[in-house]
Amino acid sequence: MANLKTSEKKTKAQSMGLHTEVLTGKTQQKFFNPDEAENFFYWGTYDVDFNKRTDLDVQNLDCKQANRKIDELMSQGYGTIVIKNPQGKHSLGVGILNKLNLIFEGSLGYFGVGSIDGPIVRINGRVGWSCAENMMAGKVVIEKKMLDRVLEQP
């Protein structure tokens, strides 16, 4: 700034370097190419086989342990995971960014299968608040309705 008056540039802005940045090119940068199949998967996801099926009993696990266990099973290539005894636990099956066939044999608590991208989830029970919140892709089927029994009553 000190030599603004003695500068040889035409304007003050030019002497401050505001006209020298090249703005072209950035918009033409390619982030995603639909032709390349690898772009459809997150980095670090697993290649799973839907025909490989396993059961996971979460009765004595807390939500962190259960979610880690699901991740572990996917890393072994299991593509169909059946969760037994979810018993209304909170935050089960969250953050799955993988293709997966996930079946819950029971009800979920709050925040079930949140932040998922890809899995096909079937819940053979009810869910609490905020099920499948921030889901990007995939399918979630909840089989039991909340108010079934109340509606039957006069």
């Binding site: 009765q59 005894n85 018993q87 209304g88 636990k89 909170h90 044999e105 029971g106 009800s107 608590g109 709050y110 029970g125 009810r126 609490g128 608040w129 039991k144 909340m146 108010l147 079934d148 029994r149 109340v150």
Partner: protein, 313 residues
């Protein structure tokens, strides 16, 4: 955000102390400031069971002022003198903690007069008075309170409980739930939510001679229902009236000697999950609480807004 749980066995008795402990422990993430139990035990129905406190728990996290144990002793002595004056005969006396006592007494006169006299001693509060009701409340989570008071062996028919996260008043025993429906024997209330017309109702009820021990908004429900019942309404009628009489968000349970009721406000902002069968009704703020009693697959449902329901044992 508090957690409430309740269960009623129809036609049989069970270890309700242990069962409710499991339910409340499952809800402990909804609040661990204090935990309260209202247990309806199997008794011969002759003597009154009076649970009362002569001081506050001043453990870590408490908002009450520390007092010396000798003060507790003096208050206890005063209570004993008053009991004698009232013509009540102490059958059994237990001092579970320095500040918490349990008396079995023979008494057959007016309870309002009785409790007014006992509570005129400074720092003394009757937590519950009834022929089968026992209210136990203290700071800490469900397991800690259960162990401190040895509740896991209590056999009874029904129970309600509360895990509290203090939002509207201090962390102390006097603001903890459940509240006794003074001056009715065997009536207790737990509540999840906030009431907004507390002071208006309190002024009105105080003018009618009811007593408030704390500044906890939930106490209003107990007093409100007690006043309705005193003027002749049934429990269910009183609860239905409370839906319009009380303002705010609430889901609450009321238990009496032989029944258990629930009410949900018209906005239905506070959660409740219900399980109903022929021999057991269990309900709680979250399904996870019910699962601690019934681990097998069951059908549960959420009650509608403005719903009032009462079950008999």
């Amino acid at each position: 955000m508090c957690g409430i749980a309740g269960l009623i066995h129809r036609g049989k008795s069970s270890n309700v102390g242990q069962e409710l402990q499991g339910m409340l422990q499952a809800l402990k993430h909804r609040g661990e400031d204090s935990t309260g139990y209202a247990l309806y035990g199997n008794t011969d129905g002759k003597n009154f069971i009076m649970r009362f406190k002569v001081g506050e728990n001043v453990a870590e996290g408490s908002t009450s002022v520390k007092e010396d144990v000798s003060v507790y002793d003096a208050r206890k002595k005063q209570v004993d003198i008053f009991l004698k004056e009232l013509g009540a005969n102490i059958v059994k006396e237990e001092r579970i903690l320095p500040y918490s006592l349990r008396y079995e007494i023979e008494y057959d006169k007016d309870l309002m007069e009785f409790s007014k006299k006992i509570e005129s001693v400074e720092g003394v509060e009757i937590l519950s008075m009834g022929k089968s009701l026992e209210v136990i409340k203290d700071l800490g989570n469900a397991k800690a309170v259960c162990e401190r008071y040895n509740l896991d062996k209590l056999i009874g028919t029904h129970a309600i409980g509360h895990a509290r996260m203090a939002t509207e008043s201090g962390v102390d025993i006097k603001s903890a739930h459940p509240f006794w429906g003074y001056p009715f024997s065997d009536v207790s209330v737990v509540h999840n939510g906030q009431l907004t017309n507390y002071w208006n109702n309190r002024r009105m009820l105080e003018n009618k001679g009811m007593r408030f021990m704390s500044e906890c908004d939930s106490e209003l429900i107990a007093v409100y229902l007690a006043e309705k019942m005193r003027s002749g309404a049934s429990l269910e009628e009183g609860m239905k009236e409370s839906l319009t009489g009380l303002d705010g968000v609430f889901t609450y349970f009321v238990a009496t000697k032989d029944s258990l009721g629930m009410a949900k406000d018209t906005m239905a902002a506070k959660p409740l999950v219900l399980y109903e069968s022929d021999d057991l009704v269990a309900m709680g703020s979250e399904e996870i609480a019910i699962r601690s009693v019934l681990p097998q697959e069951i059908d549960t449902y959420d009650p509608f807004d403005g719903m009032v329901k009462v079950w008999q044992i």
